[in-house]
C-alpha cells in the first residue's frame, strides 16, 4: 500500500518535471526567436569583410572597426545630440504643461470643466496621422521647417499625459488641498509643493512613454527637416540604410548604438512602464 502510494507520487513528480522541462524548452525557443535578431545584429556589428552575413555568433575576431567607421562617417555624436535635444525638450514641455493642465481638472471646481474634459477625451479617438498635413502647414507658416523646434512642438504636449496625470491627482486626499487652502496657500504653491510630489510616480511614467516614443520617432523629422545634419538618430539610420546599402557593418553598428539607450531605460523603469501599459485596458 505504502509502496504503491510512493510510486504514484514518484510518477506524478516525474510528470511534473517533464512538464516543466517542456515549458522551459518552449520559453527558450521563443526567447531565441525574439532576441535572436538582436544578438545577430550585435555580433554582425563586430564583424568586417566577407563573413559579415554569417550566422556564426562566436567564431570570429571581434573588431570595433564598424563603430569607429560609423562615428567618422556619420557624425553620430551630432545625431545623438539632436535626438537628446528633441527628446528632452518634448519631455519637459509635456511634463510641465500637462501637470499644470491636469491640476485644475482634478482638484478645482470651475466653469467649462466638463466641456474641456469631453473635448480632450474625444480627441484621443482620432489617430495622430490624420492631422499630419495641417501640422506640416502650421509649422511651415511658423517658419519652423528645418528647425528642431518644428520637430519638437507638435505632439509634445499629449492629451494622454493630461488624462494620466489627472487620474493620479485624484488619488491624493482632497483634505490635503482643502487644509492648505484654509491655511492661505495660493494655488500655485499648493500645486508645486503638495500635488507635484504626490504624482511623481505618474510623472515618471509620462517620462518613459515620451522617451520611448520620441527616441524612436523617425517620420515627422524626415518631413520637417530638410538638412540631414539635423536628423535624430532613428531618422539618420533610415537615411543611412536607404543610401549606403553596401556599408552593412556601419548600419549594424549604428542600429546597435540607437537601440542601447532605449533598452537601458526600459530595463530601469520596467515595472512602472508595464503597470501603465496594462492599466490602459482596465481604465
Amino acid at each position: 500500500m505504502s509502496k504503491n502510494a510512493a510510486s504514484y507520487k514518484n510518477a506524478r513528480l516525474r510528470k511534473k518535471i517533464t512538464n516543466t522541462f517542456f515549458i522551459y524548452l518552449i520559453l527558450i525557443l521563443i526567447a531565441v526567436f525574439c532576441a535572436g535578431p538582436f544578438l545577430w545584429m550585435v555580433s554582425t556589428s563586430f564583424k568586417t569583410g566577407k563573413n559579415i552575413y554569417d550566422l556564426g555568433f562566436f567564431n570570429f575576431q571581434p573588431t570595433f572597426d564598424n563603430y569607429i567607421g560609423v562615428m567618422e562617417f556619420l557624425s553620430v555624436p551630432q545625431y545623438i545630440a539632436n535626438t537628446l535635444i528633441i527628446t528632452v525638450s518634448s519631455i519637459a514641455l509635456d511634463v510641465i504643461f500637462s501637470a499644470m493642465c491636469a491640476y485644475p481638472l482634478a482638484c478645482m471646481d470651475f466653469k467649462g470643466k466638463k466641456i474641456i474634459m469631453g473635448a480632450l477625451i474625444s480627441s484621443m479617438i482620432i489617430p495622430a496621422a490624420a492631422g499630419m498635413i495641417i501640422n506640416y502647414l502650421i509649422i511651415s507658416k511658423m517658419h519652423l521647417l528645418n528647425h528642431l523646434a518644428g520637430v519638437i512642438l507638435p505632439g509634445s504636449v499629449k492629451v494622454f499625459s493630461i488624462i494620466l496625470l489627472r487620474q493620479s491627482y485624484l488619488g491624493i486626499p482632497g483634505e490635503l488641498v482643502e487644509a492648505a487652502r484654509i491655511d492661505g496657500a495660493g494655488e500655485g504653491k499648493i500645486w508645486w509643493k503638495i500635488m507635484m510630489p504626490g504624482i511623481l510616480p505618474s510623472v515618471s511614467t509620462v517620462v518613459i512613454f515620451d522617451f520611448i516614443s520620441r527616441w524612436n520617432e523617425f517620420l515627422w523629422p524626415v518631413i520637417v527637416l530638410q538638412d540631414p545634419e539635423k536628423y535624430p538618430l532613428a531618422t539618420a539610420l533610415q537615411y543611412l540604410n536607404g543610401s549606403f546599402n553596401y556599408k552593412f557593418g556601419y548600419i549594424a553598428a549604428g542600429t546597435v548604438i540607437s537601440i542601447i539607450p532605449i533598452i537601458i531605460v526600459f530595463l530601469l523603469c520596467q515595472k512602472n512602464y508595464i503597470e501603465a501599459v496594462s492599466g490602459a485596458v482596465k481604465g
Binding site: 516543466t20 515549458i23 518552449i26 520559453l27 521563443i30 526567447a31 525574439c34 532576441a35 535578431p37 538582436f38 554582425t44 552575413y53 514641455l93 510641465i96 485644475p104 481638472l105 478645482m108 470651475f110 470643466k113 480632450l120 480627441s123 482620432i126 489617430p127 496621422a129 490624420a130 492631422g131 499630419m132 498635413i133 495641417i134 501640422n135 506640416y136 502647414l137 502650421i138 507638435p154 505632439g155 509634445s156 504636449v157 492629451v159 524612436n216 520617432e217 523617425f218 517620420l219 518631413i223 531618422t235 539610420l237 533610415q238 540604410n241 548600419i251 549594424a252 540607437s258 532605449i262 526600459f266 520596467q270 508595464i274 501599459v277 496594462s278 490602459a280 485596458v281 482596465k282 481604465g283
Partner: protein, 294 residues
C-alpha cells in the same frame, strides 16, 4: 468677486499653456483636414474647391484600389497576433523561476524603433542574408529568394515583422487579464475535477473576453494604419505589392504634395478604421465583452 469665478480664472491660468499647444497641434490639424479633402490644394498655384472631386478620382485610381485591398489583406495579422500572444501570456503566467526574465525578453521588440527592427529583418531576409543561407544549407531552396523584392513574399514578410514586433505588447495586456482572474476560481474548478485545459477554456477564456476585444480593436486600428515597416523596407514595392492605404496617403501628401487628395484618402482610411472598430465593438457587446468601457 465670487469664489467660483476666481477659481475659474485660476483654473484657466493653469491650463492655458497646454490648451494652446493642444488646440494648435491637435484640434486645428484634425478639424482643418476636414475641408481640405474637398479642395485641389496647390502649394504654389491656386487652391480651388472641387467638391467630391478627390473622392471620384480615388475610386477611378487603380493604385488606390490596390492599397485598399492590401490593407484589408494586412488585417489578417490580427487573429494570428492575438492567438499567439494569448498563448504567450498563458506561458509567462506560470510561476516558475526566471519567468520575469522571459517576459522582459519577449517585450524588447516592442520598445525598439520600427526603423531598427525593419533594418534588422531587412538584412535577415536579404538574398545573401541568414535566412537564405540556412534554407540553402538545409537544401530546401536551390537559389536565394529575394523575400522582399518578390511580389509574392514581400507582403508576407511585412506581416511577419509586424507580428514579431507586436506579440510582446499584447502578451503583457493578456497577462494583466490572466492575473486579474481570481486564483480561487481556478482552484475550485480543479478541486471539482476539471483538468487544467478545462480550467483554461471554461474559466479563464470567458473572463479574458473583454481583453480579447480590447486588444483586437487596437490591433485592427494599428493594422489599418501600418506604415513604418513599409516605408523603411519596401517603399510600397515591388509593383505596389505592399502599398497599403496609409503609405499611399503619405506618398500623395509628401512626395506628390497633393494635400487635398491625400486628405481624401486619409478620410477613407478613417472610415474603414471606424467601420472595422464598430464591427469588433458590436460583436464584443453581443459576446458580453467590452466591460471595460462601461
Amino acid at each position: 468677486m465670487k469664489i467660483k469665478t476666481r477659481q475659474t480664472i485660476k483654473a484657466y491660468l493653469f491650463m492655458t499653456p497646454a490648451i494652446i499647444m493642444i488646440v494648435m497641434f491637435v484640434f486645428v490639424p484634425i478639424i482643418g483636414s476636414l475641408p481640405l479633402m474637398f479642395f485641389d490644394y496647390s502649394v504654389l498655384g491656386r487652391t480651388k474647391f472641387i467638391g467630391l472631386g478627390n473622392f471620384i478620382r480615388a475610386f477611378g485610381d487603380s493604385r488606390f484600389r490596390i492599397s485598399i485591398m492590401n490593407s484589408v489583406l494586412f488585417v489578417a495579422v490580427v487573429p494570428v497576433i492575438q492567438m499567439l500572444s494569448i498563448f504567450l501570456a498563458i506561458l509567462v503566467n506560470k510561476k516558475l523561476p526566471g519567468i520575469s526574465l522571459f517576459r522582459t525578453l519577449f517585450y524588447i521588440p516592442v520598445i525598439t524603433s520600427m526603423v531598427a527592427v525593419s533594418i534588422m529583418w531587412g538584412f535577415l531576409f536579404d538574398p545573401s542574408g541568414v535566412i537564405n543561407t540556412v534554407l540553402m544549407d538545409a537544401g530546401l531552396i536551390k537559389t536565394p529568394v529575394g523575400f522582399l523584392s518578390d511580389g509574392k513574399t514581400a507582403m508576407l514578410c511585412i506581416m511577419f515583422i509586424t507580428i514579431w514586433q507586436g506579440l510582446g505588447y499584447y502578451m503583457m495586456l493578456y497577462l494583466a487579464g490572466l492575473q486579474s482572474v481570481p486564483k480561487e476560481l481556478e482552484e475550485a474548478a480543479i478541486v471539482d475535477g476539471a483538468n487544467s485545459w478545462q480550467a483554461l477554456f471554461k474559466i479563464k477564456m470567458p473572463l479574458l473576453k473583454p481583453y480579447i476585444w480590447f486588444c483586437s480593436l487596437n490591433s485592427v486600428i494599428s493594422a489599418v494604419g501600418v506604415f513604418d515597416v513599409v516605408y523603411v523596407l519596401t517603399k510600397g514595392g515591388p509593383d505596389d505589392a505592399t502599398t497599403v492605404i496609409n503609405y499611399y496617403s503619405y506618398v500623395k501628401a509628401f512626395s506628390d504634395f497633393e494635400f487635398g487628395y491625400s486628405a481624401a484618402i486619409g478620410a477613407v482610411q478613417a472610415a474603414v478604421t471606424s467601420l472595422l472598430s464598430i464591427v469588433v465593438f458590436v460583436y464584443g457587446r453581443k459576446g458580453g465583452g467590452m466591460t471595460y468601457s462601461e
